[in-house]
């Protein structure tokens, strides 16, 4: 347990320090959100309708962007081999790394959501709904993305391939995340149903992700 806690602490510390790249994700999130009004025009009514979708897409792409660093940095300096060879089960180590990654790179996205919601003319309820769905959904993005990151770490040109492999897997999360946000905003449909499915997707990926990632690390790092 203490080994896992140490791993989480180490990963968060590395991510938050210079060159760690955790806050780059937020910067990217901001940039994507700012680009949208340029693309669809500054119509505030339209932006508030598209707001949840824009924020979800931005968060999805931002978490994909930072995923590349989940294993590559450790692979480059050799600490990934130590983690694989240590007595801690690799599945738990993978889960710990993904958790640390979510705390360092996922939570800032959720904290940034209200500010970005202002740019897109979202009211309090809508912003709260998007933030809540992101809080429930981003763990699923991180833990399924971890599978792709583990596959890509052994390749020499993993970054591009990671996007191609992970994006199709994240589509269900996107569907239910946006559906729950829209339900909370329009109020015509129940918010609970898509939100529960979103939580279920996160829980399922919490189980599947570490095992699949550990399997591909074990097989990939010969």
């Amino acid at each position: 347990m203490s080994a896992l806690a140490a791993l989480i602490r180490r990963d968060i510390r590395i991510a938050l320090r210079v060159g760690g790249g955790a806050l780059i994700g937020v910067l990217f999130f901001l940039t994507v959100t700012v680009l949208m009004p340029f693309a669809v025009g500054p119509d505030l009514a339209l932006l508030s309708r598209l707001g949840p979708a824009i924020l979800w897409l931005g968060a999805l792409l931002a978490s994909l962007l930072t995923l590349d660093r989940l294993f590559t940095a450790d692979h480059e300096d050799g600490s990934l081999d130590l983690i694989v060879m240590s007595r801690t089960p690799l599945e738990l180590a993978c889960a710990a790394k993904a958790l640390a990654h979510w705390i360092a790179a996922g939570l800032p996205l959720i904290i940034a959501t209200p500010v970005l919601g202002l740019l897109l003319n979202l009211d309090g309820t809508a912003t709260l709904a998007v933030a809540a769905t992101l809080l429930a959904g981003t763990p699923a993005l991180t833990f399924t993305g971890m599978i792709g990151a583990a596959l890509a770490v052994t390749l020499h040109r993993g970054g591009l391939l990671l996007a191609v492999l992970v994006l199709p897997l994240s589509i269900p999360v996107l569907i239910f995340g946006v559906a729950a946000s829209q339900a909370a905003i329009s109020g015509s449909l129940p918010f609970g149903t898509p939100f529960s499915i979103l939580c279920a997707l996160s829980l399922a990926s919490l189980v599947i992700g570490p095992f699949a990632a550990a399997a591909s690390l074990r097989h990939g790092l010969d």
Partner: protein, 267 residues
């Protein structure tokens, strides 16, 4: 028990090559005959009272759509064979199946599009079934990209096997998408509780076509596996030769056949 024996027997690539060389001409012949019968029956099938002659697109579209899912299922079994049993031919089977499955999926999408235009008034609609099949197509392409991204075939196999099993979650979503999100695409009408809703005149040609397409897949798959095995032998022979040139010492004293099949097997 018999099946496992056969499977271990086929683990020897040389034996596999010999067996498929005998089987393939027959398989191809039966496939061609069945396809001819199926196409004839499809052409002779009556027009639908609502859809007119366009209903005949079904006889091409539905087998393609079934196979697009079936091939991923075959790859998932092969992935288990790679990860769990380390079966030497499992990764060959998985790698050979991916492009064929992608082709079936692409054809299902295209024929569906052509059918959708007169029936629904649009080539493309973001309905649950269409969207999930499109995702399946993207996943096939991603898988093929992963196969090509790794130099060593056996390492590529394990990475691809993990991704195949994760992607297998998509298959039930496709199967039930028409029931969960009731949109344009019709729900199941052939394999359903309480028997098929299709009329006999349409059901027979459809079944013949489905069997013909399945045999077509098996034929193409076995042929592609043969090519893959031969490709790997060429690769390992090239590497041996490169080693010989590089170190100009005797690398292996075994026969070509042995060393090549070793490199195909456990890495």
């Amino acid at each position: 028990m018999k099946l496992t024996e056969t499977l271990t027997d086929l683990a020897n690539p040389t034996r596999f090559l010999a067996l498929t060389a005998r089987i393939l001409p027959w398989l191809a012949g039966v496939t061609a005959v069945l396809l001819a019968i199926g196409i004839y029956q499809s052409a002779m099938a009556p027009d639908d009272y609502q859809q007119g002659a366009t209903v005949k697109i079904m006889f091409i579209h539905v087998p393609n759509a079934w196979l697009s899912m079936f091939v991923w299922g075959v790859m998932s079994v092969a992935a288990l064979g790679t990860l769990v049993w380390r079966h030497p031919l499992a990764d060959v089977a998985a790698k050979a199946a991916a492009p064929i499955g992608a082709a079936f999926t692409f054809l299902a999408l295209v024929t569906g599009s052509l059918w959708g235009r007169p029936m629904w008034g649009t080539y493309w609609e973001w309905d649950a079934r269409l969207t999930s099949v499109l995702i399946l197509f993207l996943m096939y392409l991603g898988l093929m990209a992963l196969w090509r991204a790794v130099e060593d075939p056996s390492r590529a196999a394990r990475a691809a096997a993990v991704l195949t099993l994760v992607g297998a979650i998509n298959i039930p979503i496709i199967k039930f998408s028409v029931d969960w999100w009731n949109t344009l695409h019709q729900p199941a009408s052939v394999l359903r509780m309480g028997g098929s809703t299709l009329d006999k005149a349409f059901l027979w040609p459809l079944l013949v076509m489905a069997i013909a397409f399945s045999l077509l897949f098996i034929t193409l798959h076995l042929a592609a596996m043969r090519n893959e095995i031969l490709r790997r032998r060429v690769r390992s022979l090239q590497m041996m030769q490169a080693n010989r040139i590089a170190f100009s010492s005797d690398v292996g004293t075994g026969s070509r056949e042995e060393s090549a099949s070793k490199s195909i097997g456990a890495a």
